[in-house]
């Protein structure tokens, strides 16, 4: 036991290092969502109101183009208080809870494989492969609320199984954590209810035995969710979903109609080319996209924020043990082996309804299970290879080879991430704002107004963040507009004008797209991406 604890501590320490080392500088800059989290935490920490002045927002946090589940902002209040309004502070909650996920995963594995002789080995390997998982590292190193949600779900499950196996009252904190995950990210809003209902069904006897605690836990969840029910069911909440979901794709219906026409409009053709069939197929396509081996093991998400492109969401060598793990999980049937599959299959459902697939962020909730499958495959392989001998093949040598392969895979990821990624993919992180804003604040006294183009998207939040604008002052001076969908946008505050065509008279500094500079402009300064491409220019007329 002592040995296990030491190894566990070492692995978690290593994983924490991977998540925290230089997290303020790489990724190179903040996405607008990250800037929004940071600034809202700052605002909440200042006077308990969000950037637009709502007191302690509960159901949602209003942000550009979105109504965000608010938990991440609350979690960041303390880091922002302690470390100031910086990149590091903004990412702290994700990196910290990502590291903590490692620790909880060990204990979760102990509960899932409660009856297994090797459960400690399974746990340690699960933590180890999760610690070095490119997927989990990438998402822990930026302020992705999905990563925090994964922590809540993993801990919630650990406590839920604890209530079944050990202490009845564990179900109450479990319920709290599951509910928190619903206030953290969208994916759990679908996954957690389905998963919990199925688990309640499976463990109905045990839950009935503990009915007092079960009822209290249920009551707690209902009470916490009740104030937000109205919002969850409102059109605003589903707007984002409607934008990205596949069921609004009418080309499916056009094709189906054409197919019926090709069949001469006979009745049986309307059964074959039923739109429900067509949409189910489309759903399956997007669902299975998330299991594409190229996505998992070779290229990763197309969005460079979630993958360095040169390495998959998982390591290449993981592919072998993923398949081995799946096979032996089914064959050996240890503990609640089926939970891994249940969790994985349900976890992919929300991503399957979206147009953009595969999607590393929307499926992150499945990562601990995928890593556990890989770990199981590794554990079985190690057990087998330790004593394996066949003529020229020595099992221990194969193990050494596997270790070297992991070392090379991880080394490649780590080196590319450290040296190539910041340089090549700085544009994926909206690089350019920080430098241009530093310039603006050094010269702004000479100008009457600053006109900022939105070529990089959502400029105002970066000005708030990097200039550490006092939220009370911002709320007073900001001109806020709402688009047809009811989403907010800030068109100006103080002397800053964002993507506006009408500007006040006087001396104006323009921050704009280098491709769109008028001929008679005086170039003041050019800002470059890390790979040397121009990203913004400052000019006057």
């Amino acid at each position: 036991m002592k040995k296990t604890s030491v190894i566990l501590a070492l692995i978690v320490l290593m994983g924490t290092l991977f998540r925290f080392f230089g997290v303020g500088e790489n990724p190179v800059s903040l996405t607008w969502d990250e800037a929004a989290w940071g600034y809202n935490a700052y605002a909440l920490g200042t006077d308990g109101k969000d950037e637009f002045g709502r007191m302690f927002p509960y159901s949602y946090l209003e942000s550009f183009g979105d109504y965000k589940p608010p938990v991440y902002a609350y979690l960041s209040i303390l880091p922002v208080k302690v470390f100031g309004l910086t990149e590091f502070a903004t990412r702290f909650a994700s990196a910290f809870l990502g590291s903590l996920t490692l620790l909880v995963t060990f204990f979760l594995a102990q509960r899932i494989f409660f009856s297994a002789k090797n459960k400690q080995l399974y746990g340690l390997l699960s933590v180890a492969v999760l610690a070095i998982s490119p997927w989990h590292i990438m998402l822990s190193r930026a302020a992705f609320e999905a990563n925090v949600a994964t922590f809540f779900v993993v801990s919630g499950m650990w406590l839920f199984l604890g209530a079944i196996q050990e202490k009845k009252w564990y179900i109450i904190p479990s319920s709290l954590l599951f509910t928190l995950s619903l206030y953290t990210f969208n994916t759990p809003r679908v996954v957690v209810p389905i998963l919990v209902c199925l688990l309640a069904l499976i463990f109905r006897k045990k839950l009935w035995e503990n009915k007092r605690y079960t009822f209290l836990a249920f009551l707690l969840a209902v009470l916490l969710l009740l104030p937000s029910m109205q919002f969850f069911l409102s059109p605003q909440a589903s707007l984002r979903f409607k934008e990205v979901n596949i069921f609004s794709d009418i080309s499916v219906i056009t094709t189906a109609n054409q197919e019926v026409t090709n069949d001469g409009n006979v009745w049986w053709s309307k059964i074959l080319h039923n739109r429900r069939v067509a949409y189910s197929l489309l759903f399956l396509k997007h669902y299975f996209d998330n299991l594409d081996p190229q996505f998992l093991f070779m290229k990763g998400d197309q969005n460079a924020k979630f993958s360095i492109q040169f390495v998959g969401e998982l390591l290449l060598i993981d592919s072998v043990f993923f398949f081995v793990g799946i096979f032996f999980l089914i064959r050996k049937k240890e503990g609640y082996w089926w939970l891994l599959f249940l969790w994985l299959f349900i976890g992919l459902i929300p991503a399957g309804t979206a147009r953009e697939t595969p999607h590393a962020l929307r499926t992150e909730i499945t990562v601990p299970m995928i890593q556990m499958m890989i770990a199981y495959g590794l554990a079985v392989s190690i057990g087998y290879l330790r004593t394996f001998r066949l003529k020229y093949i020595d099992g221990q040598l194969v193990l050494l080879f596997i270790l070297v392969a992991y070392g090379m895979n991880l080394g490649y990821f780590f080196l590319q991430y450290t040296f190539m990624y910041p340089k090549q993919f700085s544009s994926a992180w909206e690089y350019g704002y920080k430098e241009s804003i530093a310039y603006v604040s050094s010269v702004e006294k000479q100008y009457d107004a600053i006109s900022v183009s939105d070529v990089l998207g959502r400029p105002y939040i970066y000005y708030l963040f990097y200039m550490k604008i006092d939220p009370m002052e911002f709320r007073k001076k900001a001109v806020v507009k709402r688009d047809v969908f009811g989403f907010v946008n800030v068109s100006s505050f103080g002397k800053y004008y964002f993507a506006q065509s009408t500007l006040p008279a006087g001396k104006i500094l323009y921050i704009a797209d280098p491709k769109n500079v008028p001929q008679d402009a005086h170039l003041m300064k050019t800002f470059f991406l890390r790979d040397g491409e121009k990203v913004l220019v400052a000019y006057t007329l």
């Binding site: 094709t255 054409q258 197919e259 090709n262 069949d263 053709s269 074959l272 069939v277 067509a278 197929l281 399956l284 396509k285 299975f288 996209d289 299991l291 594409d292 081996p293 190229q294 093991f297 070779m298 290229k299 492109q309 040169f310 998959g312 290449l316 592919s319 096979f327 089914i330 064959r331 490649y412 080196l415 590319q416 040296f419 190539m420 340089k423 090549q424 790979d531």
Partner: protein, 545 residues
């Protein structure tokens, strides 16, 4: 063999043949350029003993820019005398090979596992397999390759009863490499695997037979080896489609190479170079074929699958997983079929290797060697499920079996509709539909113009071969006319890009081009559009100003 087994396999082979030959002349709606090239070269070989480039009895057939194994062309020749130069003649070798593959699958499975029911299921599933039907109904050389694999294995297994069959196995293995590029990688691996797995049985065969078989294998292969060694251009295709080719690289990799080239530091160069990227794409290209979407939902390019379908039926997915699980479990247990399971497993794992070297993955033709392993796994899954059902109450059995049958029937009917009805409408442009009627029309107008200029730019690249094929142009005359010239020009036909601005006033010439070649308001003499009107070929004549 039991009487009802004979009856059933006869039925299955008939189903297979019917599904493969039904309406073969017009579904897929037309011959694509590769099929047309194969057909015309067969025609040329029949009449002159030379291919379109004047090479006598080629081993590697030059087809456009590429040199491919020539066996398929020779297989067309016998059919030419019955069906003339037509779609039917060009496709019948593939149809026959596909039907034979179903029978061979039955025989091989029977030898490997000694179970009639399993063999019947496997061959039945192959006979209705969308993937296999797709490739058996057009002149895909790889499909003949699959049958050659099966023949090799069949004779190989037979040789344990009568050793002289080993000779035939050697011949078939050699011949398979004349069918398709990926066979050149797959077959050597496949044969090595068989030799390793069946070491014991092979040792019982006398040394002289073994050596003769090896000699037969090498002997059959010799002409190919000689030509490959002497003809540098034969590597062209391999190089062009391989991950070696720099243009095949993915965008971000090229960008990385560009960025790295600017620095002198050692580490970035070590991490980002063609060798590293090659190794990554090799593994990635291999893994890409275990993509559920590609197999069951989407397929790859239109010519390789029916619209709205993948390569296999969706209901096969659970059975496939159960089947693979069953096979692996039994492999671990080590019983009398261990060797058979090893063959199945390695066959499955070797199949994607040739495609892994190429850039467009997943690719359902370069990995056609997978077949019939999918049908076999599904057959195992099916048996497992049926055994499981036997433990249930009788009424439950009926309900579940009928329910399953309804689902399977639904997807089968859906497939038939998608393949035989919808495919022509949605994919006619991918099968380069329109040339047949267009060439006939041009030939009737030919007398009125001094020149006929036909575009050879996308989507009409290689248009010359369609003119040769559909006009049944005399091969000896063609070889004479094009001797020593690199561009295609014969009779009054010239194949070149159309630059409409310069040609608009030329009224002696008939221009044939796609919509891209002319301004959108042009009046065409005739239009030959794809069935969904997404692309079209136009006949246009200039006007004197």
């Amino acid at each position: 063999m039991k009487k009802n087994v004979v009856l059933l396999i006869t039925l299955i082979v008939s189903i297979a043949f019917t599904l493969r030959v039904w309406d073969i002349g017009s579904v897929p709606i037309s011959l694509d350029w590769d099929e047309v090239a194969l057909g015309y070269n067969a025609y040329s070989l029949l009449h002159t003993g030379k291919d379109e480039y004047g090479v006598s009895f080629p081993v590697l057939l030059r087809s456009f820019g590429d040199y491919k194994p020539a066996l398929y062309t020779y297989l067309i020749i016998p059919f030419l005398s019955f069906f003339d130069l037509s779609a039917v003649a060009v496709r019948l070798p593939s149809v026959s090979a596909g039907t034979l593959a179903v029978l061979l699958t039955f025989l091989i499975v029977r030898m490997l596992w000694k179970k009639d029911s399993l063999a019947l299921w496997a061959s039945f599933l192959l006979s209705i397999s969308p993937w296999h039907i797709q490739m058996s109904r057009a002149a895909f050389e790889a499909n003949v390759g699959v049958t050659a694999n099966l023949l090799t294995l069949f004779f190989f297994l037979k040789s344990f009863q009568k050793s002289s069959f080993l000779l035939l196995a050697g011949v078939c293995a050699g011949l398979s490499m004349y069918t398709y590029q990926s066979e050149k990688v797959f077959m050597p691996l496949f044969v090595s695997m068989l030799v390793l797995v069946y070491k014991k049985q092979l040792q019982k065969i006398s040394l002289s037979v073994r050596i003769t078989a090896l000699v037969a294998f090498v002997g059959v292969l010799l002409p190919l080896l000689v030509v490959m060694a002497t003809n540098q251009a034969s590597f062209a295709r391999f190089y062009a489609t391989s991950v070696f080719a720099s243009h095949g690289g993915v965008n971000f990799q090229q960008r990385a190479l560009f960025l790295v080239a600017q620095s002198h530091a050692f580490l970035p160069h070590l991490l980002n170079n063609h060798y590293v990227f090659f190794v990554i794409s090799l593994f990635g290209g291999y893994l890409a074929h275990f993509n559920i979407n590609w197999l069951f939902v989407t397929g790859d390019i239109p010519r390789h699958h029916a619209p709205g379908m993948g390569l296999l039926y969706l209901w096969e997915l659970p059975l496939l997983l159960i089947g693979i699980y069953t096979c692996l479990s039994r492999l671990i247990k080590k019983d009398e079929s261990t060797q058979s399971f090893l063959v199945l497993l390695f066959w499955f794992l070797l199949a994607p290797i040739p495609a892994a070297f190429t850039a467009d993955v997943p690719h359902s033709i370069r990995t056609l060697n997978f077949l019939p392993t999918f049908s076999l796994f599904v057959a195992f899954g099916m048996q497992e499920v049926l055994t499981y059902l036997q433990r249930k109450a009788l009424w439950q059995q009926y309900v579940l079996k009928i329910g399953g049958a309804v689902v399977m029937l639904f997807f089968f009917l859906y497939y038939l509709n998608q393949y035989f009805v919808q495919q022509n409408y949605f994919y006619s442009q991918d099968w380069q539909y329109g040339y047949k009627d267009m060439v006939a029309k041009v030939n009737t107008l030919k007398g009125r113009y001094t020149n006929i200029v036909i575009s050879n730019e996308v989507p009409m690249d290689q248009s010359y071969i369609f003119f040769l094929f559909y006009s049944k142009y005399d091969p000896s005359r063609y070889q004479e006319e094009t001797k020593g010239r690199s561009e295609h020009q014969f009779s009054s036909f010239t194949f070149r890009p159309i630059r409409w601005k310069d040609e608009v006033s030329d009224d002696h010439t008939l221009f044939v081009g796609s919509r891209n070649d002319f301004p959108s308001n042009i009046t065409a003499l005739s239009t030959f559009a794809s069935l969904n009107n997404e692309s079209a070929m136009l006949l246009v004549s200039g006007k004197k100003e």
